[in-house]
Amino acid sequence: MLSSVVFWIAAVLAVSGALGVVTTRNPVHTALSLVLTMLSLGVLFLLLHAEFLAVVEVLVYAGAVMVLFLFVVTLLMAGVKPPKEEHHLRLAYQTLIAGLFGLILFVLVLHSVVGAGWVGTLAGPQGGSFGSIASFGTALFTRYLLPFELTAVVLLVAVIGVVVLGREQE
Protein backbone atom coordinates (compact mmCIF):
# COMPACT_ATOMS: atom_id res chain seq x y z
CA MET A 1 0.00 0.00 0.00
CA LEU A 2 1.74 3.11 -1.23
CA SER A 3 -0.34 5.52 0.82
CA SER A 4 0.49 3.76 4.11
CA VAL A 5 4.19 3.85 3.29
CA VAL A 6 4.00 7.57 2.51
CA PHE A 7 1.97 8.15 5.67
CA TRP A 8 4.50 6.42 7.91
CA ILE A 9 7.49 8.18 6.35
CA ALA A 10 5.78 11.58 6.67
CA ALA A 11 4.61 10.82 10.20
CA VAL A 12 8.08 9.81 11.38
CA LEU A 13 9.59 12.91 9.77
CA ALA A 14 6.91 15.13 11.34
CA VAL A 15 7.45 13.71 14.82
CA SER A 16 11.23 13.91 14.54
CA GLY A 17 10.92 17.52 13.41
CA ALA A 18 8.65 18.23 16.36
CA LEU A 19 11.14 16.64 18.75
CA GLY A 20 13.79 18.84 17.16
CA VAL A 21 11.64 21.89 17.91
CA VAL A 22 11.57 20.94 21.58
CA THR A 23 15.18 19.79 22.03
CA THR A 24 17.51 21.90 19.89
CA ARG A 25 19.28 24.78 21.61
CA ASN A 26 20.08 26.95 18.62
CA PRO A 27 16.93 28.83 17.46
CA VAL A 28 17.97 28.46 13.81
CA HIS A 29 17.96 24.68 14.22
CA THR A 30 14.58 24.94 15.93
CA ALA A 31 13.18 26.83 12.95
CA LEU A 32 14.60 24.30 10.48
CA SER A 33 13.10 21.42 12.48
CA LEU A 34 9.77 23.18 12.33
CA VAL A 35 10.14 23.52 8.55
CA LEU A 36 10.71 19.75 8.37
CA THR A 37 7.50 19.16 10.32
CA MET A 38 5.53 21.51 8.08
CA LEU A 39 6.78 19.90 4.88
CA SER A 40 5.78 16.49 6.25
CA LEU A 41 2.38 17.88 7.15
CA GLY A 42 2.06 19.15 3.59
CA VAL A 43 2.60 15.58 2.38
CA LEU A 44 -0.05 14.34 4.82
CA PHE A 45 -2.48 17.02 3.55
CA LEU A 46 -1.93 15.67 0.04
CA LEU A 47 -2.72 12.16 1.28
CA LEU A 48 -5.97 13.54 2.74
CA HIS A 49 -6.92 15.12 -0.61
CA ALA A 50 -6.39 18.67 0.65
CA GLU A 51 -4.40 19.79 -2.36
CA PHE A 52 -4.84 23.54 -1.96
CA LEU A 53 -4.03 23.39 1.75
CA ALA A 54 -0.89 21.36 1.07
CA VAL A 55 0.34 24.13 -1.22
CA VAL A 56 -0.67 26.81 1.28
CA GLU A 57 1.08 24.94 4.08
CA VAL A 58 4.35 24.81 2.15
CA LEU A 59 4.15 28.32 0.69
CA VAL A 60 2.73 30.30 3.60
CA TYR A 61 3.98 28.35 6.60
CA ALA A 62 7.23 26.73 5.57
CA GLY A 63 7.92 29.69 3.30
CA ALA A 64 6.69 33.04 4.53
CA VAL A 65 6.13 32.48 8.25
CA MET A 66 9.38 30.62 8.83
CA VAL A 67 11.36 33.21 6.87
CA LEU A 68 9.87 35.82 9.20
CA PHE A 69 10.95 33.69 12.16
CA LEU A 70 14.48 33.34 10.80
CA PHE A 71 14.69 37.10 10.22
CA VAL A 72 13.79 37.78 13.84
CA VAL A 73 16.11 35.03 15.08
CA THR A 74 19.06 36.52 13.25
CA LEU A 75 18.03 40.03 14.37
CA LEU A 76 17.69 39.17 18.06
CA MET A 77 20.22 36.41 18.58
CA ALA A 78 23.12 38.05 16.72
CA GLY A 79 24.87 39.59 19.70
CA VAL A 80 23.39 37.38 22.38
CA LYS A 81 25.55 34.93 24.26
CA PRO A 82 24.00 31.56 25.06
CA PRO A 83 22.58 31.74 28.58
CA LYS A 84 24.70 30.30 31.34
CA GLU A 85 23.48 27.27 33.22
CA GLU A 86 22.92 28.97 36.57
CA HIS A 87 20.79 31.45 34.70
CA HIS A 88 18.49 28.54 33.95
CA LEU A 89 17.87 27.45 37.53
CA ARG A 90 15.30 30.00 38.54
CA LEU A 91 12.40 27.67 38.03
CA ALA A 92 13.52 24.27 39.22
CA TYR A 93 12.40 21.07 37.52
CA GLN A 94 10.76 23.03 34.70
CA THR A 95 11.47 20.38 32.07
CA LEU A 96 10.30 17.61 34.38
CA ILE A 97 7.03 19.35 35.19
CA ALA A 98 6.47 20.22 31.52
CA GLY A 99 7.00 16.57 30.59
CA LEU A 100 4.59 15.44 33.28
CA PHE A 101 1.89 17.83 32.10
CA GLY A 102 2.55 16.75 28.53
CA LEU A 103 2.12 13.09 29.50
CA ILE A 104 -1.17 13.83 31.25
CA LEU A 105 -2.42 15.82 28.26
CA PHE A 106 -1.38 13.06 25.88
CA VAL A 107 -3.18 10.38 27.89
CA LEU A 108 -6.33 12.52 27.99
CA VAL A 109 -6.31 13.24 24.26
CA LEU A 110 -5.50 9.64 23.39
CA HIS A 111 -8.30 8.49 25.66
CA SER A 112 -10.78 10.71 23.88
CA VAL A 113 -9.58 9.57 20.43
CA VAL A 114 -9.70 5.88 21.33
CA GLY A 115 -12.86 6.29 23.37
CA ALA A 116 -14.67 7.83 20.41
CA GLY A 117 -13.78 4.76 18.37
CA TRP A 118 -11.72 6.63 15.80
CA VAL A 119 -8.62 4.48 15.77
CA GLY A 120 -10.01 1.59 13.75
CA THR A 121 -12.25 3.60 11.47
CA LEU A 122 -11.32 3.68 7.82
CA ALA A 123 -11.69 6.92 5.95
CA GLY A 124 -14.74 6.89 3.72
CA PRO A 125 -14.49 6.52 -0.05
CA GLN A 126 -13.46 9.63 -1.89
CA GLY A 127 -16.50 11.38 -3.25
CA GLY A 128 -16.33 13.16 -6.58
CA SER A 129 -14.82 16.61 -6.38
CA PHE A 130 -13.95 16.59 -2.67
CA GLY A 131 -10.69 18.36 -2.00
CA SER A 132 -10.22 19.87 -5.43
CA ILE A 133 -9.32 23.53 -5.70
CA ALA A 134 -12.61 24.18 -7.51
CA SER A 135 -14.72 22.85 -4.64
CA PHE A 136 -12.54 24.69 -2.15
CA GLY A 137 -13.07 27.95 -3.98
CA THR A 138 -16.79 27.33 -4.32
CA ALA A 139 -17.13 26.73 -0.60
CA LEU A 140 -14.93 29.71 0.27
CA PHE A 141 -16.74 32.23 -1.90
CA THR A 142 -20.32 31.10 -1.41
CA ARG A 143 -21.18 29.56 1.92
CA TYR A 144 -18.14 30.79 3.85
CA LEU A 145 -17.84 34.24 2.30
CA LEU A 146 -18.34 36.14 5.57
CA PRO A 147 -15.52 34.37 7.49
CA PHE A 148 -13.32 34.89 4.46
CA GLU A 149 -14.01 38.62 4.48
CA LEU A 150 -13.43 38.75 8.23
CA THR A 151 -9.91 37.36 7.77
CA ALA A 152 -9.22 40.45 5.69
CA VAL A 153 -10.06 42.53 8.77
CA VAL A 154 -7.81 40.31 10.89
CA LEU A 155 -4.93 40.85 8.51
CA LEU A 156 -5.57 44.61 8.43
CA VAL A 157 -5.49 44.72 12.24
CA ALA A 158 -2.26 42.70 12.20
CA VAL A 159 -0.63 45.10 9.73
CA ILE A 160 -1.64 48.16 11.74
CA GLY A 161 -0.54 46.52 14.97
CA VAL A 162 2.88 45.64 13.61
CA VAL A 163 3.37 49.16 12.29
CA VAL A 164 2.42 50.65 15.67
CA LEU A 165 4.61 48.19 17.60
CA GLY A 166 7.55 48.53 15.27
CA ARG A 167 7.88 52.29 15.59
CA GLU A 168 10.88 53.74 17.40
CA GLN A 169 9.84 54.34 20.99
CA GLU A 170 10.54 57.75 22.44
Binding site: T30, L53, L76, A123, S135
Partner: protein
Amino acid sequence: MVPIGYYLVLSAVLFVIGGVGVLARRNPLQMFMAVELMWNAVNLSFVAFARQYLDMAGHIFVFLVITVAAAEVAIGLAIIVMVFRKREHVDVDDLSLMKG
Protein backbone atom coordinates in the same frame (compact mmCIF):
# COMPACT_ATOMS: atom_id res chain seq x y z
CA MET B 1 -5.91 3.47 3.10
CA VAL B 2 -4.69 4.77 6.44
CA PRO B 3 -7.36 4.87 9.17
CA ILE B 4 -8.31 8.35 10.31
CA GLY B 5 -7.37 7.45 13.88
CA TYR B 6 -3.71 7.33 12.89
CA TYR B 7 -3.92 10.93 11.74
CA LEU B 8 -5.66 11.92 14.97
CA VAL B 9 -3.04 10.18 17.11
CA LEU B 10 -0.24 11.81 15.10
CA SER B 11 -1.97 15.15 15.58
CA ALA B 12 -2.21 14.50 19.33
CA VAL B 13 1.49 13.59 19.47
CA LEU B 14 2.50 16.79 17.67
CA PHE B 15 0.16 18.89 19.83
CA VAL B 16 1.57 17.48 23.06
CA ILE B 17 5.17 17.88 21.89
CA GLY B 18 4.37 21.51 21.05
CA GLY B 19 2.75 22.04 24.44
CA VAL B 20 5.75 20.60 26.25
CA GLY B 21 7.94 22.87 24.14
CA VAL B 22 5.97 25.94 25.25
CA LEU B 23 6.28 24.91 28.89
CA ALA B 24 9.91 23.82 28.85
CA ARG B 25 11.65 26.43 26.72
CA ARG B 26 12.90 29.80 27.96
CA ASN B 27 13.68 31.45 24.66
CA PRO B 28 10.52 33.31 23.55
CA LEU B 29 11.26 32.58 19.88
CA GLN B 30 11.44 28.86 20.53
CA MET B 31 8.29 28.98 22.66
CA PHE B 32 6.60 30.74 19.77
CA MET B 33 7.72 28.08 17.31
CA ALA B 34 6.30 25.43 19.64
CA VAL B 35 2.98 27.30 19.52
CA GLU B 36 3.16 27.16 15.72
CA LEU B 37 3.66 23.41 16.03
CA MET B 38 0.44 23.20 18.07
CA TRP B 39 -1.48 25.19 15.42
CA ASN B 40 -0.23 22.76 12.79
CA ALA B 41 -1.19 19.71 14.82
CA VAL B 42 -4.76 20.97 15.12
CA ASN B 43 -4.83 21.75 11.39
CA LEU B 44 -3.98 18.11 10.71
CA SER B 45 -6.99 17.05 12.79
CA PHE B 46 -9.25 19.41 10.86
CA VAL B 47 -8.09 18.09 7.50
CA ALA B 48 -8.42 14.48 8.68
CA PHE B 49 -11.99 15.07 9.85
CA ALA B 50 -12.82 16.87 6.61
CA ARG B 51 -11.59 13.81 4.72
CA GLN B 52 -13.61 11.52 6.99
CA TYR B 53 -16.87 13.42 6.52
CA LEU B 54 -16.08 14.59 2.95
CA ASP B 55 -16.97 18.12 4.01
CA MET B 56 -15.08 21.17 2.75
CA ALA B 57 -15.83 23.11 5.96
CA GLY B 58 -12.74 21.59 7.57
CA HIS B 59 -10.56 22.89 4.76
CA ILE B 60 -12.06 26.36 5.04
CA PHE B 61 -11.43 26.32 8.77
CA VAL B 62 -7.78 25.35 8.24
CA PHE B 63 -7.44 28.16 5.73
CA LEU B 64 -8.77 30.65 8.28
CA VAL B 65 -6.53 29.19 10.99
CA ILE B 66 -3.47 29.63 8.79
CA THR B 67 -4.45 33.26 8.13
CA VAL B 68 -4.95 34.00 11.81
CA ALA B 69 -1.69 32.22 12.65
CA ALA B 70 0.17 34.38 10.15
CA ALA B 71 -1.31 37.52 11.73
CA GLU B 72 -0.43 36.21 15.18
CA VAL B 73 3.16 35.52 14.12
CA ALA B 74 3.55 39.02 12.72
CA ILE B 75 2.26 40.74 15.85
CA GLY B 76 3.94 38.33 18.27
CA LEU B 77 7.33 38.69 16.64
CA ALA B 78 6.95 42.47 16.64
CA ILE B 79 6.26 42.37 20.39
CA ILE B 80 9.20 40.02 21.01
CA VAL B 81 11.55 42.25 19.02
CA MET B 82 10.28 45.32 20.88
CA VAL B 83 10.71 43.74 24.32
CA PHE B 84 14.04 42.01 23.82
CA ARG B 85 15.79 44.50 21.54
CA LYS B 86 17.91 46.06 24.27
CA ARG B 87 18.41 43.00 26.44
CA GLU B 88 21.48 40.90 26.92
CA HIS B 89 19.71 37.55 27.14
CA VAL B 90 16.69 36.49 25.15
CA ASP B 91 14.93 34.71 28.01
CA VAL B 92 11.33 35.05 29.17
CA ASP B 93 12.46 34.70 32.80
CA ASP B 94 14.00 38.16 32.52
CA LEU B 95 10.54 39.68 32.16
CA SER B 96 9.98 40.10 35.89
CA LEU B 97 9.27 43.81 35.87
CA MET B 98 5.88 43.45 37.54
CA LYS B 99 7.07 40.94 40.11
CA GLY B 100 5.97 41.95 43.61
